[in-house]
Symmetry: C2
Subunit: 218 residues, 2 copies
C-alpha cells in the first residue's frame, strides 16, 4: 500500500494510525500541501478531489478518509476498528463523525485559507474561528465520554473514535486550546500517545516534517 | 421512531429519505432552527450536540446523520442503502463522505451564521462562499460519476450516495447554482425526485415548511 499524505494533515494522520493499528505495511509518500502539490495535474489525475490522504491499495486509488477507514475495516477486519454490536458501533461512529464533520471539516486547511484570502481575515481571527469549532463539539464529546464511563479508550481497544480524535487534539494543542476541563478526552489522548501505533503516526515523526529527527543508526 | 428535524436542514432531509427508502415508519417532530430550539435545555439534555436530526429509535436518542445512516443500515439491513461488496461500498462512501464533509459541513447553518456574525460578512459574500464549496466538490463528484458509467442511480437502487446528494442539490438550486454542466448528477437527481420516498422527504412537503400545502381530504 502507498499512502500519499502530508505530515500535518489530520486526515493523513488518521490513516497512518489506522494502518498501524491494523498492522498493515505501507509506503509513506509525502505530498506538499504548502506548494499545493495535491492540486497539480499529476495528482488530480489519480484523485479528482485533489486531497490527501490518498491510499493506493488493492489496485485502486482511494480518497476521502472516512470512506477509507470504513473500507479498511471491511477489507482488513482484524484487528477491528469498530466493536462487534451495532449499538456500540453507533456509539463510536456518532463521536467520530461529530469530530470529522463539525470540527475537522470546518477547520480544514482550504477553509482557513479562504478565510485569509479572499475574505481577508487576520491570523488572530482565524485562530478564534478554529477554537470556536473545537469548543462547540469537544464539549459534547467530553459529556458523552463521561456518560459512557470510558477507561483508557472508548471501548476495550483504540479504534475509529481514537483514530479521528487524536489528530484533532494534536491540532488543538498547536492552537493553544485549553483542554484542562476535558479529563476524559485527555486521558484517552495520553493512553493513545503511549502506544507505538500512535507514536509512529505522529506528525513530528514523519520524514516530511521539519521536526523530523532521523533515528540513530539509520 | 421519532425524527426530530427541520424541513430545510439537509441532514434531516437525509434521514427522511433513508427512513422512507427502508420503509420505516416515523413521527416527524419539527425543531425550529430559526429560534435555535435545538440549543435549548430541553433538547440538549437529550442531544448534547444541540443538532438535528435526532432520531429516537430502539430506546436511544441518536445524533449525527452519517453515524445514524450507518446504524440504520446495520440495524435494518433490508432494503440496503449500500451494495454488497466492500469495493462497491467504498465507491458509495467515497462520494457520500466527500459531499458530507467538503460541501455540507462547511456550508452548514452554524458556519454561515458565524460568517455573518461575528465576522460581519454580507449575504452576497456568504452566497459566494456557498457556491465555492459546492463547485470544489460537485466537479470531482461529476467526474467520478462519468467514470463509473452510472444510470439512474450510482448502483442499481438509490442508497447512501443519493441520500446525501439530493439535499445538497436542493440547496444548490436554492442558491441559484448552475448545474447545467453536471449531466450525471442531474440525471440522478431527476430519477430520485420521481420516487415517492424522495418526494415525501422533500423540504417543501414537510409540515413545518411555509410552502407546505395540506393534501386534499386531510
Amino acid at each position: 500500500m502507498k499512502l500519499f499524505g502530508y505530515f500535518r494533515s489530520s486526515t493523513s494522520y488518521r490513516l497512518r494510525i489506522a494502518l498501524n493499528l491494523k498492522g498493515l505495511e505501507y509506503e509513506n509518500i509525502p505530498v506538499d500541501l504548502r506548494t499545493s502539490e495535491q492540486k497539480g495535474e499529476a495528482f488530480t489525475a489519480r484523485n479528482p478531489f485533489g486531497s490527501v490522504p490518498m491510499l493506493e491499495a488493492d489496485g485502486r486509488d482511494r480518497a476521502q478518509s472516512m470512506a477509507l477507514l470504513e473500507w479498511l475495516e471491511e477489507a482488513y477486519p482484524d484487528p477491528p476498528l469498530l466493536p462487534a454490536g451495532s449499538e456500540d458501533r453507533y456509539t463510536v461512529r456518532e463521536l467520530a463523525h461529530a469530530i470529522a464533520t463539525e470540527i475537522h471539516a470546518i477547520n480544514n486547511l482550504p477553509v482557513l485559507r479562504y478565510l485569509a484570502d479572499p475574505l481577508g481575515h487576520a491570523q488572530d481571527d482565524i485562530a478564534i474561528w478554529y477554537r470556536h469549532w473545537l469548543s462547540r463539539t469537544l464539549g459534547p464529546v467530553e459529556q458523552r465520554l463521561a456518560q459512557l464511563h470510558t477507561g483508557d479508550f472508548l471501548f476495550d481497544r483504540p479504534g475509529l473514535f481514537e483514530v479521528v480524535l487524536l489528530p484533532q487534539i494534536y491540532n488543538a494543542r498547536k492552537f493553544d486550546y485549553d483542554l484542562s476541563d476535558k479529563p476524559h478526552t485527555t486521558r484517552i489522548e495520553a493512553a493513545c500517545l503511549a502506544l507505538p501505533e500512535f507514536e509512529r503516526a505522529f506528525p513530528d515523526n514523519q520524514t516530511d516534517s521539519p521536526d523530523y529527527i532521523q533515528p540513530a543508526g539509520e
